[in-house]
């Protein structure tokens, strides 16, 4: 496989595989294999590439995204929310937002979709060897956190202690209900759940992610914080992390921008001279601080 590094990325991120295609705009065909209702607005779609060999040899790094398309409706960007070790299918966890996501939510098992993947950079997990990792997810931000966290848990021997703080607006909005019991009980992960608005069934924390984080007060020494979620959550969570003493290079997040081509040409996803589709979506807070403030 041809690999290529991006000379513009300030911290040496592991090489990115190129699309196995000559035409980067033509999707691979895939078939919907399973649909999981995660919450009233989130569905996980598991797809299998129609070409057996393509499915078998498909590799990606945690945090990379794909363009999922429903032919006739359009294409939109989603992180691959299954871990790279999952070889049977690719999972996308899709929150209902507009036209394309609505068409994705209308899909049924057996239908054909298009996939352009993997695209973008990924979490620099090799830089975290020997460190504690504190994952923080808000809402659909759990999709990228799931892939990287499962990957890190599979190689837990390389890391220190592992934590997850996962928040949603209300209990019914928490995605990945199938995974949560495991996350809460496994010994190699310290998992905290929180909701903004609790109901009588709720036995976990109540409060917004930044305030629960402040309460948990993770020690910044030898720890990396990895956070994904809506822009407001990111903003206040970063403030809290800085207050707790985390340095900007140890705060890692992902950005969302409107995207089309996903390959650095169509020109809409830039922040300054960087393009989120090829130079991101994963950035350290330190890198973001050096870019124009246009989030």
């Amino acid at each position: 496989m041809t690999t290529i590094t991006n000379p513009r990325m300030p911290h040496g991120i592991t090489p990115r595989p190129l699309l196995p295609h000559a035409n980067a705009y033509a999707p691979m065909l895939a078939t919907v294999h399973e649909i999981i209702e995660e919450s009233p607005t989130i569905k996980s779609i598991r797809v299998v590439l129609n070409d057996d060999e393509a499915q078998r040899s498909f590799t990606f790094e945690p945090g990379q995204v794909g363009q999922l398309s429903v032919f006739g409706a359009g294409e939109a960007t989603f992180v691959i929310s299954s871990p790279p070790s999952e070889k049977r299918f690719l999972q996308f966890s899709v929150m209902l937002a507009g036209e394309v996501t609505a068409a994705i939510h209308r899909l049924s098992v057996g239908e054909t979709v298009g996939v352009r993947a993997p695209l973008g950079n990924f979490f620099p997990y090799k830089d975290w060897f020997g460190k504690n990792v504190f994952f923080i997810a808000g809402g659909i931000g759990i999709a990228p956190i799931r892939t990287i966290m499962l990957h890190v848990l599979e190689h837990a021997e390389n890391y220190g202690s592992l934590h997850l703080l996962f928040g949603a607006r209300k209990p019914g909005d928490l995605a990945f209900k199938q995974d949560i019991p495991d996350w809460l009980t496994r010994s190699d992960l310290d998992c905290t759940l929180c909701v903004d608005r609790a109901d009588e069934s709720w036995s976990h924390k109540t409060g917004m992610v930044p305030s629960v984080l402040e309460e948990l007060a993770p020690q910044p020494e030898n720890t990396v914080a990895v956070l994904c979620g809506p822009p407001v959550m990111i903003k206040y969570t970063i403030e809290t992390l800085e207050k707790l003493g985390f340095s900007p290079e140890h705060i890692i997040t992902t950005l969302e921008k409107r995207m089309k081509c996903g390959i650095g040409i169509c020109g809409r996803c830039n922040i300054g001279g960087l393009y989120v589709c090829v130079d991101g979506p994963v950035f350290s807070w330190k890198t973001l601080q050096g870019l124009p403030n246009e989030l």
Binding site: L18, G72, T112, R258, K260, I265, C266, R268, V278, P292
Partner: protein, 366 residues
């Protein structure tokens, strides 16, 4: 080695006919509508054409306003008529094309597009196929024009970048100079007589063109100065007040290359579905609007800031040169008279240059 041939004025049509034997030939054609304009059209015997600078650059020859990326069709499976399969067709065809009498600023436009489309992390196969089949015969400009400023941004009235052949008007016709191997073999295949004996007149004409231009301000510090202006929203607001976000400045620009991708049709119907690529523009508020409604460039000033920054700061950061060839079309086609030169000079703090270049200044109300 350059190859020089002489193309007599009265041999022009025969030369076009020679080109048309092998390729589609695009020539500037005058259109007299509500507002007269010059656009590139396919030449055929007898089509009246002009050697004037075109109103619309020939960018569409490599990047059509709208094109089909692929078609998709849901058809019964050959083996099992009860099942369906999706068939994608992304066959791309590139018609061999020669552009005649474009100007150096537009030829440099192709060089600006080549970098992201051919030399980035991914190559654009549609663009690459058309570009490979394209030959550019450029007419050097006899003088500067009212709104152009090619020499500010690394070009000039006889800049060879992006061209395969340069034509310079001299007495009785045009001296043709090959720039690339492609241009050279084209000239050698032609029946045009040798032109080496007329080099002096060519040089004289080109020199005169340079002399007609005003003094160019030094734009070396532009990337840095514009980046420093990023947070100065007052500045961008002031320069964007009149803008109506129509996008004319980007659609007329030989170096603007943003696009959108949309689907239409229905793969299950007989006529099938298609994925289209169409020109888009960063002056539109929809360009960056996210599904959540969040928009990092909600204000027109923020969008102007992006357009100017891309041309004079971030594209240079990535590729080492400006993504503006100074053609002046955004100036002459803006319905509200916004002048990119004035914004540029003001961002650089070179207000005094604005007066001497006769560009509009908001401060002086001229």
């Amino acid at each position: 080695m350059n190859c020089y041939r002489f193309l007599a004025k009265d041999a022009l049509s025969a030369f076009l006919a020679f080109l048309a034997e092998r390729e589609r030939v695009l020539v500037p054609v005058e259109k007299n509508g509500a507002r007269s304009s010059v656009v590139f059209e396919e030449w055929h015997e007898g089509l009246p054409f002009t050697m004037l600078k075109s109103t619309v650059p020939p960018k569409a020859a490599v990047l059509p306003q709208c094109e089909v990326l692929f078609t998709c069709r849901r058809v019964p499976d050959e083996g099992d008529q009860n099942r369906h399969v999706m068939v994608l067709d992304d066959t791309l065809t590139a018609q061999p094309t020669v552009i005649v009498a474009t100007r150096p600023c537009d030829a440099r436009g192709f060089a600006v597009l080549d970098r992201p489309y051919l030399n980035g992390l991914y190559q654009d196969p549609y663009y690459a196929a058309r570009r490979k089949e394209l030959t550019v015969l450029t007419l050097t400009c006899p003088t500067g024009c009212e709104s152009c400023f090619c020499h500010w941004v690394g070009g000039g009235p006889s800049s060879p970048e992006g061209s395969d052949v340069l034509l310079t008007e001299i007495e009785g016709g045009y001296l043709c100079q090959s720039v690339t191997e492609k241009g050279r073999s084209l000239l050698e295949r032609s029946a045009l007589p040798d032109g080496e004996d007329r080099l002096a007149s060519m040089q004289e004409a080109r020199k005169k063109a340079y002399q007609s231009l005003g003094r160019a301000p030094d734009l070396k510090t532009a990337p840095q100065r514009i980046s420093e202006r990023f947070s100065d929203l007052d500045f961008w607001n002031r320069w964007t007040e009149a803008c109506i976000s129509c996008g004319a400045c980007t659609y007329f620009c030989p170096t603007c290359y943003c696009f959108t991708i949309t689907d239409e049709g229905d793969p299950a119907h007989a006529e099938g579905g298609r994925r289209l690529r169409s020109w888009d523009n960063c002056m539109s508020s929809l360009f960056t609007r996210e599904a959540s409604g969040h928009n990092p460039r909600r204000k027109k000033a923020e969008r102007m800031r992006n357009r100017i920054s891309h041309k004079y700061a971030t594209y240079p950061e990535n590729w080492g040169v400006f993504s503006c060839s100074g053609c002046g079309r955004c100036v002459s086609n803006c319905p509200t008279g916004i002048d990119i030169r004035a914004i540029l000079l003001s961002a650089l703090g070179k207000e005094e240059d604005m007066i001497s270049h006769g560009t509009q200044s908001k401060e002086t109300g001229q």
